[in-house]
Symmetry: C2
Subunit: 412 residues, 2 copies
């Protein structure tokens, strides 16, 4: 057991996540692909647009017919028809001719520019005066200008945003491969923990971590399943793990990783034949008693029972782990957005330990201030008051007031 | 009609959103409240925790019994029992006594501190040596230290994050009031637009905006309903609006707001008895031909047909409008996070027009660079390449290379 207690650094823990592969891809219709992680490299199968389109209401012309045109010396063109919306021109446009066209309409062959209606005057139904020179391709969206057939669109491993969905719709991609969402079992432990709907007796606490963790799993793109509270008995642990494993891609143990006397989680994990404890103890505050294990090929993350510890470890290790399973390319992407801020007070830390300090952002003239929210790791309210977290690196004794820090934002 | 065409500024448009009220609240169980917008002010009904708890494994003591204790001069205490997890102590702790206690356990009456097990040695089952002084309340989470009964928790109008859900679970809040999610009808128009699954004939375009807008609605917490493509005929418009209104809280018209000849949207809106055009035309690029209207008490947003224009207007006006309906307190919150960056090139604009420029972020030593992604508003790819948008204010002629800008990030 002893070497389990050699504390690992966060980067050592993250390196161990590499053994877990992305879940299998599934095919979804485009209408369900928003927010999902792409599981194939997509290449444009066609040009967008597939024809020269006008971006204004006006008249399609051969640009050379307008060269030198001005309000004083208008060009005179013969109106030979009108392009209906969604229709192709019946015949090519010749020199001296023009056709009426509305925004989004397809230019006829031969036309290479469009004069806005504001710069024209119709003398009669066949004659048009043009008061302005247009250059070739002026007011025209060229075939392939948005996307050219054959160009790479998105690599596998990116999360699809609304505009990405729009582009794929424009290219007629009706169905695509995305990674399956990880199903995450959340198992709570502790004889003092009761279901949160129950009345409390003295000494009891409600199972709040399971709810916070479930929301974090949702926020990271997973599907949480709260599996209730396991009594502090080895056989209860073994039964619950055996039941959860076939239905889950990741198991979260809440409160099952302290060195307390009633800690059965290590024994329960090791009672499974193909199990391995990868990490037991992380050089981090809060969150030191974290466990990372594998049973068969399924990862298990044992989170500390203190609410702030559990949620911080879920952000710092749980999100990257869900990202691995979910197929997201980068750990940075799983951590989400950072804001550059200025620390508003000194923060002490210990050499050889990484600290994750909750901070609130406060606007200032240039960079916002990051106000540390200090408090015991048993407090939930420190997280509620905070906008994000700041990492104090392993080999420093702290950060000084005024230092520039990157704040990792908590997400809804 | 004429005064409709007096262009409004973005802030004038946003001011007009004040007439739309939040939708009615609905009661949801806590397990469904994550990401929802709170519709009531929540106050703590009880203390959290409800009793003094230990945050370490060890022995509960009266702190004064340990004063002066050290490895050379240990304090000797009588072990009178053990506190079971989730149980209240049977009897108060007297001077000279101690009880064994595990992390999360309830201190017995009379105890005011906990000695960590590492600083003790049991001589026999009744005698304990303590090698360290503990101060009163050391290693103790006090009753009410996390939250005190009666304190405000969250005001109505905030979006509930995972840690907020955790706090509410800890306090036993099983059911709460949130605002109903806005149901958003998305109606596409244009005789050149075809369903995105259809094969394209020359001159036709796929209905990509409906898909991008639906994803934006989801991202803003609404429930999108794509209602297909309406032909450019007044009665078709009227029928579709009449069908959509009773089933929707907001109607988005995609492509129905140009001044083109086949624009029936204004006429269709005005054919409803209790309708009013609030805005027709916004002093903005892209997105000038935007319409804001009300039919009965339902808002209608007419978006330009160009993909970049439609998506930018949905970000800049649509999100705040959904925020109003959804009960979110601030427009800033609806726009989401900003990143401070440095503009990498000059950007021209016109006085009296706000520009929303798509930018890509590129890391640099201090502030990231914001690289403008220029291109016609008919291009979707400019949005796909961008990480967010920068606003060029109304009364400037542009921004200069090196200027500090706030980048509003596009969200997944």
């Amino acid at each position: 057991m002893k070497d389990f207690f050699k504390l690992k650094t966060i980067s050592e823990v993250l390196a161990r996540l590499g053994r877990f592969a992305a879940l299998e891809p599934e095919s979804v219709p485009l209408s369900q692909a928003h927010g999902r992680i792409l599981a194939e490299d997509l290449v444009a199968a066609e040009d967008l647009p597939q024809f020269h389109r006008t971006v204004v209401d006006g008249f399609a012309v051969q640009a050379q017919d307008t060269f030198g045109a001005s309000p004083g010396t208008p060009a005179l063109l013969q109106v030979v028809g009108e392009i209906g919306m969604g229709e192709a021109a019946a015949q090519p446009l010749r020199l001296g001719e023009t056709v009426r066209i509305a925004t989004g309409g397809m230019l006829p062959p031969g036309a290479d520019a469009v004069v806005m209606i504001e710069y024209t005057q119709e003398l009669d139904s066949h004659s048009l005066e043009v008061f302005r020179t247009v250059a070739p391709l002026e007011n025209v969206l060229q075939q392939g200008e948005d996307v050219r057939a054959g160009v790479p669109l998105f690599p596998a491993g990116v999360r699809l945003r609304p505009q990405d969905i729009g582009l794929l719709a424009a290219l007629g991609v009706t169905q695509l491969k995305v990674y399956r969402r990880p199903r995450v079992a959340i198992i709570s432990t502790g004889d003092e923990i009761v279901p949160f709907e129950s009345p409390l007796r003295p000494g009891q606490m409600r199972d709040s971590n399971a709810y916070a963790l479930a929301a974090q799993v949702e926020s990271a793109g997973g599907e949480p399943c709260r599996r209730g509270i396991v009594p502090d008995q080895l056989n209860a642990w073994q039964e619950q793990l055996a039941a959860a494993l076939p239905e889950s891609d990741l198991i979260l143990l809440s409160g099952g990783s302290s060195v307390g006397t009633r800690d059965w989680s290590i024994a329960a994990i090791q009672s499974f034949p193909e199990s391995q404890i990868l990490v037991h103890g992380v050089a981090v505050s809060p969150g030191k008693p974290t466990i990372l294990a594998v049973i068969g090929n399924k990862p298990l993350l044992g989170l500390p029972g203190h609410p702030a510890s559990a949620m911080i470890i879920m952000e710092v290790i749980g999100r990257p782990l869900l990202a691995r399973l979910g197929g997201l390319k980068s750990v940075e992407a799983s951590w989400g957005q950072t804001i550059t801020a200025r620390l508003s007070r000194n923060l002490a830390s210990s050499l050889g330990r990484e600290d994750f300090v909750r901070v609130r952002l406060r606007s200032a003239a240039d960079l916002p201030w990051a106000d540390p929210i200090l408090g015991k790791s048993g407090l939930i309210s420190t997280l509620v008051k905070a906008d994000g977290w700041v990492q104090i690196p392993l080999h420093t004794e702290g950060l000084e007031k005024g230092e520039i820090v990157e704040v990792h934002l908590f997400r809804p």
